[in-house]
Symmetry: C2
C-alpha cells in the first residue's frame, strides 16, 4: 500500500515540499500559513515501483499529481493490457471514475518508486475553502491540462504509429528511456516487434 | 465574420443570458452585479453555420463555449480533412494554440447557426479579478472537462471504429442526427462507405 512516511527514494520530505512549493509559486506566491496548510493536509504519498494505485472496478477517491516518478494508466481489454497514458514529474493523472463516482474502468500503477500527491475531493475543497487563493492555481493548472490533453488527443488521432513514436522522440525523449519498450509499443498502438522494426527503419534513415 | 448583434437563431439576447446564468448557477449563485458584469463583458457571439472561427496558421486568441449550436474542430492532413472533435450545447472547445500562443495547427468551424461565448485571456482575467467567485466556477468547469476529455481519449484508444460508433449511438444520439455522415465517419476513423456498411451490419443485428 501507499505510505506517507519512510520514502525509499532520493528525496526527503523537506525536499519534496520544496519541489511542490516551487511548482505552485509559478502561479501564486505562498505565505507561511499557506505552506503550513499544505503540509498539514498530509497528501503526499510514497509509492513503490510496481504498486497498483487504482484497480479496475474500484471506486475512485483520488486524483494524482506526480512530484517524482512515473505512473501508468491502462485498461484490461479482453485479457490484454492497453496503455492509455504515462504521467511523470509535475503532471497530473485524473482517473476517469472521478467524474461520477462510478467504479474505475482502468488501472493506475507506478512504474518507478514515486512521490505523489493523492488528494480527494474533501481535502481539496477544505484547502480551497480556507485559502481561496488556491482556486486560481487549480483553475490555471486544470486549464493547462485541458489544452495539453487536447494536443495529445489530436496528435494521436491525426498520426500513424511511426509519427507517434517520432513525436515522443522529439517531445518526450525522457519517457522513451524510462518506460519499457513493451509499454511504449502498446501506448502507440503496435506490437513490440513492430516497434523494433520501426526503430530500425528510423535509425537507418538518420 | 462573427457578430454580437442580430441573432439569426430562435433565441434572443435575453434568452441567451438566461441559459448562461442557469448554467453558471449550477456552480455558484450570482448576484445582480455579477450578472451585470457578465453582460458588460460582451463575449457572446452569433455565428452562421459554415463560418470558420479559426483557420490553420492563425494565432489563437479565444476559447469557445457553446450556448446553442455545434462547432467542429479539424485538421488538414496532406489535403484531407481529419475531424477531431464536435462541441455542442454547454461544452467548451479549447483550441490547442491557446497554450503557447503559437499559430493554430487546426481549424474550428460552425456546423450550424450557433451562439457562443468567445473569451480571450484578458477578458477572462479581468472578470475573474473583479469577481473572484468565478475562479471556482472556471476551476470546476476545467476539472470536469479534464475528466470528460480523458474518457473520450481512452474510449478512442481502446475501441474499434464500430465500437466508437456504438458509443456515439448510446451516449450522443443527438450528434448522429445533427452532424453529416461524412464528418461522423471521418471522426471515428473510417470512410463514409465503411460507415454505411457498419450501420447496415448493426441494423441487421438489432
Amino acid at each position: 500500500m501507499t505510505s506517507n512516511t519512510a520514502p525509499d527514494t532520493s528525496m526527503n520530505t523537506d525536499e519534496v515540499y520544496k519541489v511542490l512549493f516551487e511548482f505552485l509559486e509559478q502561479y501564486v506566491s505562498l505565505s507561511d500559513d499557506e505552506r503550513a496548510a499544505l503540509v498539514s493536509a498530509d497528501v503526499i504519498q510514497f509509492v513503490k515501483g510496481g504498486e497498483i494505485l487504482i484497480h479496475e472496478g474500484e471506486v475512485v477517491a483520488h486524483g494524482f499529481f506526480v512530484l517524482k516518478g512515473c505512473l501508468r494508466s491502462y485498461y484490461n481489454i479482453h485479457g490484454d493490457e492497453k496503455t492509455t497514458g504515462f504521467c511523470t514529474e509535475l503532471e497530473n493523472l485524473t482517473p476517469t471514475g472521478l467524474l461520477d463516482g462510478e467504479p474505475s474502468q482502468h488501472f493506475v500503477s507506478a512504474l518507478e518508486d514515486s512521490i505523489i500527491i493523492a488528494a480527494n475531493k474533501n481535502i481539496e475543497e477544505a484547502v480551497l475553502s480556507a485559502f481561496p487563493k488556491f482556486e486560481k492555481v487549480c483553475r490555471k493548472m486544470a486549464e493547462e491540462t485541458v489544452i495539453k490533453q487536447q494536443i495529445d488527443f489530436d496528435t494521436f488521432k491525426t498520426t500513424s504509429p511511426e509519427e507517434r513514436y517520432l513525436t515522443l522522440l522529439e517531445k518526450r525523449p525522457d519517457l522513451l528511456q524510462r518506460v519499457s519498450q513493451n509499454h511504449i509499443a502498446n501506448y502507440i498502438g503496435i506490437t513490440p516487434q513492430s516497434l523494433s522494426r520501426l526503430k530500425s527503419r528510423i535509425f537507418k534513415r538518420s
